[in-house]
Symmetry: C2
Subunit: 507 residues, 2 copies
């Protein structure tokens, strides 16, 4: 009589001790099971939308996102990182010029309130108007006159701004983590959003390589708890500097770095071509040949490069890497740490160790990255303060976990039990039971209206609720609760204490 799939099961006969609830045993369409939207309820009005590149996170998605954020947050906490939150909007003077010209274009600017169109803006217009032909140029000039605030583009610049602004209150070294959304007016496409979260951890005010070691441990810890196998790649910008010393063009450091950063995407031949375009001599590029064919284990690569890069910077970068690997060796991590001299990273403020993390089971690009910077706060007037940080790509991590099916089961944002609503008197009793359950932190609810059983059970099915409780006259008289396991179909009568024990368990 019951459907084999309990989540499609809609008709039921419940036999409490002496009381029978009988309902129709019919299958009906499962869409909008509870509210019946009549056509006239939805007016001709256009369905509302949200700005492109932004997302609504429905409950089942929020639960999964919070799972990731929480694992990252707790890892940072175990390593004594402190939480920081900065405002969504920063002064444009804080943001502009920090992300290159392209970054400036991608800032979301907030229109000044009130009469933004006065003073310099109107002057500007006067000189340029009529300017039908050059509205783009006018826009680009006007933009900085009528907007003085912007949405933050990342968490690094606000962090540097915070450190400088609050330097007299902070205890250094200052270790902070920050998990907040950032905004970029990028062209939206699959996996790229205009509003997305960053999860950053940084320590500032210390040169110690122990910080690098701890960040590697944090990465290992996070991905272990997320049940994802990864490779943690490290390199050192000084090794790349060493390469420019080696080829006798130490001024070409950023050019060499930016070219090598494209190795994964365009391959060695095109990288060499780009190096030449960026001003490295043909002889220099030829001299780099062994660098492109480096292989072997960490020790082997380190030895090879130690012989090859005799300059001061190269030696220093290799020593630092060696030291980090030595520390790591005794710590038996769950994921391999690989010295990859071809790792470059795109950001120009890195000066020492750099990190990048890749998932083993899926080619998703980097899901975490970071590095050491020796002068991040210099741009705000505080020089020579070294720091190192890492950023987890939560959005990509979500996609990987989702595609690999690695989110824990039972992550439904659902209560453990729903009570059927049989009317006023029974509800009074159910409310008492509910109060007792919630006191024990057991999420529970009662269906709000005494409507047909079919409708109530359909709601419980849709929400994937584990148990349905029923309290009728007989249950009240005998002080028990009839409880149905929605998965197995099993049904029994329990005391309140037995119900608490059942629901407090994980299943």
């Amino acid at each position: 009589m019951l459907s084999p799939n309990p989540h499609l099961w809609l008709g039921l006969i419940i036999c409490g001790a002496g009381v029978n609830y009988v309902f129709e045993n019919s299958i009906f369409a499962l869409q909008n099971p509870v509210i019946d939207l009549k056509p006239q309820q939805v007016m001709a009005k256009q369905k509302p939308t949200i700005p492109k590149g932004t997302r609504d996170f429905s409950p089942s998605v929020v639960v999964k996102r919070k799972y990731i954020f929480q694992i990252i947050e707790q890892a940072f906490q175990r390593y004594a990182y402190q939480p920081l939150e900065t405002p969504s909007m920063e002064n444009l003077s804080t943001l502009l010029g920090k992300y290159g010209e392209e970054g400036d274009q991608l800032l979301f600017r907030i229109l000044d309130s009130g009469d933004f169109f006065n003073g310099q803006a109107i002057e500007l217009l006067k000189n340029h108007f009529p300017g039908e032909g050059n509205s783009a140029a006018l826009s680009s000039q006007l933009r900085n006159q009528i907007a003085s605030k912007g949405l933050r583009y990342d968490l690094t610049v606000p962090f540097a701004r915070y450190v400088v602004q609050h330097r007299n209150e902070l205890t250094f070294p200052f270790k902070r983590y920050q998990i907040q959304p950032v905004w970029r007016a990028d062209k939206p496409q699959k996996g790229r959003y205009r509003e997305f979260y960053q999860c950053d951890g940084d320590v500032i005010g210390t040169h110690s390589l122990l910080n690098e070691v701890e960040l590697i441990q944090i990465v290992d810890d996070v991905f272990t708890r997320l049940n994802l196998k990864v490779t943690i790649k490290i390199n050192n910008r000084k090794v790349l500097k060493g390469l420019t010393e080696y080829v006798g063009q130490p001024d070409k450091f950023m050019d060499l770095t930016m070219a090598i950063d494209k190795l994964d995407k365009i391959g060695p031949e095109k990288v060499k071509q780009e190096m030449r375009q960026r001003g490295l001599s043909g002889a220099a590029v030829d001299k780099l040949e062994p660098f492109f064919s480096l292989s072997g284990d960490n020790r082997g690569k380190l030895q090879h490069l130690t012989r090859m890069l005799e300059g001061e910077q190269g030696q220093k970068g290799l020593e630092e890497t060696q030291q980090i690997l030595d520390y790591i060796e005794v710590l038996t991590l769950n994921n391999p740490v690989e010295f990859d001299p071809q790792l470059a990273r795109g950001l120009d403020y890195y000066t020492g160790t750099i990190f990048e993390v890749k998932a083993h089971e899926m080619d998703m690009g980097s899901i975490c990255g970071g590095g050491r910077y020796d002068d991040l706060t210099g741009v705000f007037g505080l020089n020579d303060v070294s720091g190192v940080g890492i950023s987890f790509g939560a959005e990509r991590i979500y996609d990987v976990l989702d595609k690999l099916g690695r989110f824990p089961t039972h992550m439904q944002p659902a209560p453990r039990i729903m009570f059927v609503n049989f009317g006023r008197k029974e509800t009074q009793k159910a409310l008492e039971i509910l109060q007792a359950l919630r006191k024990e932190d057991i999420p529970a609810e009662i269906y709000p209206d005494p409507v047909k059983m079919k409708k109530q059970m359909s709601y419980a099915n849709h929400r994937s609720i584990d148990y349905v409780g029923m309290i009728g006259e007989d249950e009240i008289a005998r002080d028990v609760i009839t409880v149905k396991n929605m998965e197995s179909g099993e049904q029994k009568q329990l005391s309140l204490q037995a119900l608490k024990d059942l629901l407090a368990g994980s299943d």
Copy 2:
């Protein structure tokens, strides 16, 4: 020899078994104990700032804010509310016209990317230019041409938008909670910010008064766990409608409501005056006299009004209130629920029960409020969907808890233990111990640099770290850890297991 205040104690003699660490016993300035900022490090550049009305939340504040959010979130979860998150920016078409004219003025508009200054904007300018004298009018017209998105002003309109947009995927009744920031270009003043959090819970798609009962329970639950005594005031908009029936001016419902809403601020005489200004007749206002002097307990007030308000709406409002109070009666809440017929609330979309919560121990105005609305989604084309919701004023709750000293002690965002850094070899051992502690979810760290003990202890003092661990040669040889309780000054040698046991406890 030791200072009586362990957090100012900076000189110490530690006697491990056979090894003595001796440090200078001098007091020094506590500012910037670790990083020594030389004047030349801070350039002439102006100190960076943040936009007015926004705030940086430093670690100790974040921890307290999260404490509040978590208690609210967990309460909603116990009542089977599901988490929802919507984008920070909405289309202006979604936001405009929902908050009255004043609200429209307070929206933060986001400047369109690229060439925003084309098409209609340039046309508009052509017709108005030169317009030096009327730049304000020009701004106000131009504003909607060059910006098509705005930051959300509250969580209610995005929720209504979400429900309409996703109605085919949702199971109704839909109970959701949402804890996210909102933005208003309000004049910043004490306690009023341009970016602040709202914590909302709503259930939509049911008329059942059980939802009101549960919201009252949630409020009681939250403030009980926050250790705050409150009064939960309820009324019903239909009671206010009943008043207009009673005085024979049923068309003056919103005028009467808006006047009564000011009772707390301006007193009864000015409210009556405002009623007259808003078009209630002198006779009508006189007839309301008994309403202003209503007193007694809930039952008394209900009886009085039931005799007084004979119209359909008034009777309905009183019946609903009676039913809610009946349900509540058997639930023994920790905070009183008071029927207050003079409660009005400012928002115009409420149609049934309304709530407001006040703290007993401090006059802070309302710290939580809400109500039932019968047509919130109508504005987006979905009519006749009733809902009821509540909003916790987390910012005010923070201020109350802070001023009353009700935040739990030991809420420092600090690790349980900091290990002193004695150099390479000792650090290697400390890292192993740290790894073992963190595996047990015990937050712990090592000072990153092997600098002077004074500097390291100063750091531990500043961060209010409970224990300092020391591992020197002797400790390594004997496989123990020297642990100092920073509060009591007590010091002992422990095995790793004993240390775990010590730190896993709450103190």
